[in-house]
């Protein structure tokens, strides 16, 4: 093997220009793949993280059917107890009870229909990013204060500031008329105009009191330590739910189906583009290897008549392709990795990103993440494709007749 390896390496540099042009194609694609895939991994994680932390969490326990109909009657009974039980049973800190309903919020001059959420201020800080996004004033503090925090656009639309009062009107769980007055204590900037337009949170006990909920709520929200532990957590939650009830555990994909699909759609279109690049590199390798086999016909004829098997020559060709691929991989990953590291520190921005960021809960600079997937996934496929591409030139060796080959021009 040592001899074949040395032969392969030397053969590569018989035509340094050709070899560099072929590896150049690999390096070029590898750099692009490393850069793009790292960027995608970074964007997707931020999209998921930011969206889920701002709204649904990773996992929720709800009454069956609540996620489609969102009726105030579809409740989780004794929601705080359930949250406490889950917290103890799972050994997980990030568990919070919530309730939610539609109400009319009126200030002195304006009224808007909004979705109001009742939260446990202390637990909420552990599952949601919103308590940390207070732009003015403060987040909710006690469980039963008559206080409300709202999004920046809603505050502007309602023409209220910190310290003003809002009247909330809606219907209670039993269908009765519900009304309350709450003081605006904080204004939140969630970085997304849609959320800033609709966001309104009040303390859970105040919510239950106002909307005749008793001790019930609408969901228990949980945040797993990371995305990969969600499904394990989900089955543990299922086991802990009281038997015979109509409660269900839903993961983030079920709660926010758009998010995963948006990512899938993006991956599909990116995959098409990567595939094209890889096919083009494969053609380049195929061409080089075919030429290098054809021009060595006489040489191969000589060594074959000396007793070298076509199989061994085939391995030589394959090894040449692998070596070329490895050079492409190492250099490509090095250059691509350097770019990724640079952008993971300094961030990346391009025209249109800011507008897109608003739509997908992203910051307006992208900080890439250095991950093994991002660095090696693309280049490995390029390497495999190059090896595959040298299979056709290899088969030509088996048709080679030593004597004829030696006579070839």
């Amino acid at each position: 093997m040592g001899l074949t390896l040395r032969l392969a390496w030397r053969n590569l540099w018989r035509h340094p220009r050709r070899t560099w042009l072929t590896t150049g194609a690999m390096i070029f694609s590898n750099v692009i793949l490393v850069f793009m895939i790292s960027m995608q991994v970074g964007i997707y994680q931020m999209m998921i993280d930011n969206s889920l932390r701002a709204s649904t969490g990773h996992l929720q326990v709800q009454a069956e059917g609540y996620s489609e109909k969102q009726k105030i009657r579809q409740t989780v009974p004794d929601v705080e107890r359930l949250a406490a039980d889950l917290k103890a049973g799972l050994g997980l800190d990030a568990v919070a009870p919530r309730a939610s309903t539609f109400a009319l919020a009126s200030s002195a001059d304006r009224s808007f229909g909004i979705q109001i959420m009742g939260v446990d201020p202390e637990a909420e800080t552990r599952v949601s990013s919103l308590p940390g996004l207070v732009d003015e004033g403060r987040f909710l503090e006690s469980l039963d204060a008559r206080e409300i925090v709202i999004g920046t656009v809603l505050a502007r639309n309602l023409k209220v500031g910190v310290g003003d009062e809002l009247t909330l009107m809606g219907s209670g769980r039993d269908g009765s008329f519900a009304a309350a007055i709450a003081t605006v204590v904080g204004i939140l900037d969630a970085g997304n105009s849609e959320m800033n337009r609709s966001l309104a949170e009040v303390p859970l006990a105040f919510f239950q009191d106002t909307f005749a909920m008793g001790s019930a709520g609408h969901s228990v929200v949980m945040l797993a330590p990371d995305l990969f532990q969600v499904s394990a957590l989900e089955s543990r939650v299922r086991a802990l739910l009281p038997a015979g009830g109509d409660l269900v555990a839903l993961d983030w994909d079920e709660l926010m189906p758009g998010l995963k699909q948006a990512i899938q759609a993006d991956i599909a279109s990116a995959a098409f583009m990567y595939l094209v690049l890889i096919v083009l590199v494969a053609f380049s390798v195929l061409n080089t290897q075919l030429m290098s086999v054809l021009e060595r016909t006489r040489e191969f004829g000589v060594v074959m008549s000396l007793g070298v098997s076509p199989g061994r020559l085939g391995r030589l060709i394959l090894l040449e392709a692998v070596l070329m691929g490895l050079v492409g991989l190492v250099v490509g990953v090095a250059i691509g990795g350097a770019l990724v590291v640079w952008f993971s520190i300094h961030g990346l921005s391009f025209p249109g990103l800011e507008e897109m960021a608003g739509q997908f809960n992203l910051p307006d600079r992208i900080y890439m993440q250095v991950t093994a997937t991002g660095l090696f996934f693309g280049p490995t496929i390029v390497l495999l494709a190059s090896v595959l591409a040298s299979l056709y030139p290899m088969t030509r060796l088996h048709w080679l007749e030593p004597v004829e080959a030696m006579r070839a021009a």
Binding site: T22, A25, G113, T288, P351, G358
Partner: protein, 410 residues
């Protein structure tokens, strides 16, 4: 001179096919590259065009006139007088395809079972037909019949959320000019299906005069929407409308009203260019490689030709011509292939498995690829021009051989 050009071209063409395997492989790479350039561009263009067009149909219009404070505070208090004669004169010109004035206020709609926050739009149904999505998307019942119509048109999804039905009554509540709550019962007379679910849930439509009476706003309106000829080119229309509308109102074109959609078109143009160039570069390595090999194996021949008196210029143009033939052939086949694959897809590609995800981008779940000649020309020109540049280096090398040295090279 003409004769020598013919010789150069014929030599280049024949040289191309001396090593037909290599040429065919390179040709295949060019075809795949060109096909991918045009195909991908058509898909992305189609998606963005639809997003923008859907957005304009929802917005709707290319240019809108509002009270200056309406964007920050969309309430009845920030209303406009109906179009003046000067404005009407501009609106009646042929460059305006359609225009409508309408009321647009936040409202709350309640059925016996449920309550939702929506945007109440008071419209002149006749004017709206050419302008917004709703008239074309009616699924059940009837569309509004005039500004005095007493009925209400709602989206299917809202109807489900409210757990009510066509023909049933709902209560619509909003604020009037005096900031008092105004409410009124409406019968649901029509249901529309929209390509975007958020629309179906968010907009309800009633007659303009009916809404004006409910909100005590006399003949005032919230906005005037104007549809021009081309959504890509709206600045001129905006300026003329702004001049005619006079001071004290805000006149904005759709890219300012919807910055996300507005950013999509230039971003798409950038993407198309980057994509074409990247694919070309991936091809260029192979192209240069092929030419280098072709020159290398012909060193002796080139030396002979030089020794026989062919000028280095001839050699150069021969190599460049060889490369151009290869690219032109690849472009031709790639273009045709792209056209053949896009045509059957123009009826629409169903992407509803990721429909809710596409909706996050603002796109509908059926994708209509847009085959645009500008993009095809762009791709072809880029490939030919950059291809020419890429072939220069091997061509110049070939022309610099010393005849005697080249002749004796093994």
């Amino acid at each position: 001179m003409r004769g020598s050009l013919r010789v150069t071209l014929r030599l280049a063409w024949r040289n191309l096919w001396r090593n037909y395997r290599r040429t065919l492989i390179m040709l295949a790479a060019v075809v795949v590259g060109v096909w991918a350039m045009i195909f991908m561009t058509a898909l992305m263009r189609g998606m963005v065009d639809d997003m923008v067009k859907d957005g304009i149909r929802t917005l709707p219009g290319h240019v809108q006139v509002h009270h200056p404070s309406f964007q920050d505070d969309p309430s009845v208090a920030n209303s406009l007088d109906p179009p003046t004669d000067t404005l009407l004169e501009v609106l009646d010109r042929p460059e305006v395809v359609a225009w409508a004035s309408r009321i647009k206020v936040p409202a709350v709609v309640s059925s016996e079972r449920n309550t939702r926050g929506v945007v109440l739009v008071g419209i002149d149904p006749e004017r709206e037909r050419d302008l917004s999505f709703v008239a074309g998307d009616m699924a059940e019942g009837r569309f509004l019949e005039g500004p005095e119509d007493q009925g209400l048109v709602v989206g299917r999804r809202l109807l489900e959320r409210l757990e009510t039905d066509l023909g049933k009554r709902v209560v619509v509540m909003s604020q009037d000019r005096e900031n008092e709550i105004a409410d009124r019962g409406f019968r649901v007379v029509g249901v529309y299906d929209s390509r975007l679910q958020a629309q179906e849930e968010g907009f309800i439509f009633a007659g303009r005069a009916t809404v004006q009476r409910l909100l005590q706003m006399d003949d005032q309106v919230s906005e005037i929407a104007v549809l021009g000829l081309d959504y890509r080119n709206v600045d001129g229309l905006r300026d003329r409308v702004a001049a005619a509308a006079g001071p004290g109102v805000a006149v904005q074109a759709w890219p300012e009203l919807e910055p996300y959609l507005g950013s999509m078109l230039p971003m798409m143009d950038g993407f198309v260019l980057v994509w074409i160039v990247v694919v070309f570069l991936a091809l260029a390595f192979g192209l240069v490689n092929t030419l280098v090999m072709a020159v290398f194996e012909r060193v002796r021949e080139i030396g002979l030709m030089l020794a026989l008196g062919m000028t280095p210029g001839h050699i150069r143009s021969q190599i460049v011509a060889e490369s151009t033939f290869l690219l032109a052939l690849g472009l031709l086949v790639g273009d045709v292939l792209a056209w053949l694959t896009i045509r059957p897809l123009e009826k629409g590609i169903d992407l509803s498995i990721v429909g809710e995800g596409l909706e996050m981008f603002g796109a509908a779940s059926v994708l209509y690829p847009a085959f645009r000649w500008e993009d095809v020309v762009l791709a072809n020109v880029i490939v030919l021009v950059l291809g020419f540049l890429a072939s220069l280096s091997p061509a110049i090398r070939a022309s610099r051989y010393e005849p005697v040295e080249a002749l004796t090279k093994v």
